[in-house]
Structures are given as C-alpha cells and as structure tokens.
C-alpha cells in the first residue's frame, strides 16, 4: 500500500540557518498530490504547501518543496529558519483514488533555537 516516510523525528536548527525536512514515499498510483502540513502547538494541522507537478518548485511562507517522482521525494526546505517555524511538520500524499484520503508520515518536530 501507499506509505510516506519522514526519517527525522526531531530536527533542531539555529535561527537564521537553513533547514531541510525529508519526505519520501511509495505509491502505485499515477495521479497523486503531495502536501506538507504544519501543526503549531495547540493548533490544528494546516496545509503549508501542495504540489502535484513533477520537478516544479512550490513556495509558501518562505518554505519550498519540489516533487521529484524519479526519486519519490518531496523534501521541505527553508533558507533561513525563524523561531516561529518551530512546529510539527507532516508530509502527506493523496492518491486521488477515492474520497481524498490522505496518507501521512509520522511527522518531524522542528525546533528552532536562538
């Protein structure tokens, strides 16, 4: 079945430095969309980025990600981390087969230190 892998449970970075959160996937479907959700403390998960186009960079709020179907990856990056970026980040895919079901990774907790 479909799966999403996030290899880091916790990423700690110093404010102002770049950060990269890894996401790889396995799926048998051709029509797929990918999402990065961010969950701030005591808040609901919300969409940060979305992409369904191979090799196209998607950006929002200073974060960017590029879907690479050749390597089954959708890594999230930011050139300069901010204290306010500290949150839980989930990578997810939607196979579009029925009812918009999302398959989530386990999540990566990003901690930005001063």
């Amino acid at each position: 079945g479909d799966s999403v892998t996030q290899t880091e449970g916790l990423v700690t970075v110093t404010e102002g430095l770049p950060v990269k959160l890894n996401c790889t996937y396995q799926t048998t479907y051709l029509t797929i969309a990918f999402f990065w959700y961010v969950q701030y403390l005591n808040e609901a998960p919300q969409v940060l980025l979305k992409s369904s186009t191979d090799n196209k960079r998607t950006e929002h709020q200073g974060f960017h990600a590029t879907l690479h179907k050749s390597s089954s990856s959708f890594h999230l990056q930011k050139s300069s981390a901010q204290l306010s970026d500290s949150a839980l980040y989930y990578c997810a895919l939607s196979d579009g087969s029925s009812g918009n079901k999302l398959i989530f990774g386990i999540g990566t907790l990003l901690s930005v230190k001063p």
């Binding site: 029509t31 999402f35 609901a44 998960p45 969409v47 979305k50 939607s94 579009g96 918009n100 990774g105």
Partner: protein, 114 residues
C-alpha cells in the same frame, strides 16, 4: 482561514462505555473525514463521508465505530463500546471537493479509555 471545530478537546471514558466525538466542519464543505493518531504514530485515515453515506473506511474503522451527520449538524464519530486500544487523538477534517484538494483539520479530540 476556514476552521473545523471539535468538541470536546479531551475526553476520558470507562472501557465499555459509549462515546460520541463531535465535529463542526467548514460550512460549505461536502466531504468529511475522521483520522486517528495513537501517541508516537502517524495520523491514519478512518473514514470519509459524503451525502449522508460512508464512502470509504479503513481496517481501523471497527464495527464498534459509526459516523453520521444528521440534518447538517455536527459530524459525529461514535464508538460503542469503547476499548483500551481506542485511546488516541481523533482528528476531524473536511474538504469542499473530492480529489486532491485541501483538507482542513480540527485540533483533535484526545480520547482516553480507562
């Protein structure tokens, strides 16, 4: 942005009793979902619901689970009877369309079965 409200935020219940988790989806959304997240694990799809019917359910959606949205009111998840392994955070979500569109989540209800 659009908000999905979940009531209550925490619930503690005795094993074997019935529990109903309530969700107020985004007002113009037509598709509704429940996800389950056990501590330390990823969020997993339980069920999706459209036009008064379950469209798809996962193997986690046991016979003791049921969902409904009577007369456009709360979208509910009922567990009867509860078991210890039902302890988890349950996230409600909704979306306007079916395929590969943004899904909006609530903050979750933490259910503890004792």
């Amino acid at each position: 942005g659009p908000k999905v409200l979940q009531i209550p935020s925490h619930q503690i219940i005795d094993m074997g009793q019935m529990v109903t988790l309530n969700c107020d989806p985004v007002s113009n959304h037509l598709y509704f979902y429940w996800y389950k997240q056990i501590l330390g694990q990823q969020m997993e799809f339980l069920v999706n619901f459209y036009n008064g019917k379950v469209m798809e359910k996962s193997k986690l959606f046991k016979d003791q689970f049921s969902v409904e949205r009577p007369d456009g009111s709360y979208f509910t998840l009922k567990i009867q009877p509860t078991a210890l392994e039902d302890s988890a955070v349950y996230f409600c979500a909704s979306s306007r369309d079916r395929a590969n569109t943004e899904v909006f989540f609530g903050k979750g209800t933490r259910l503890t079965v004792v």
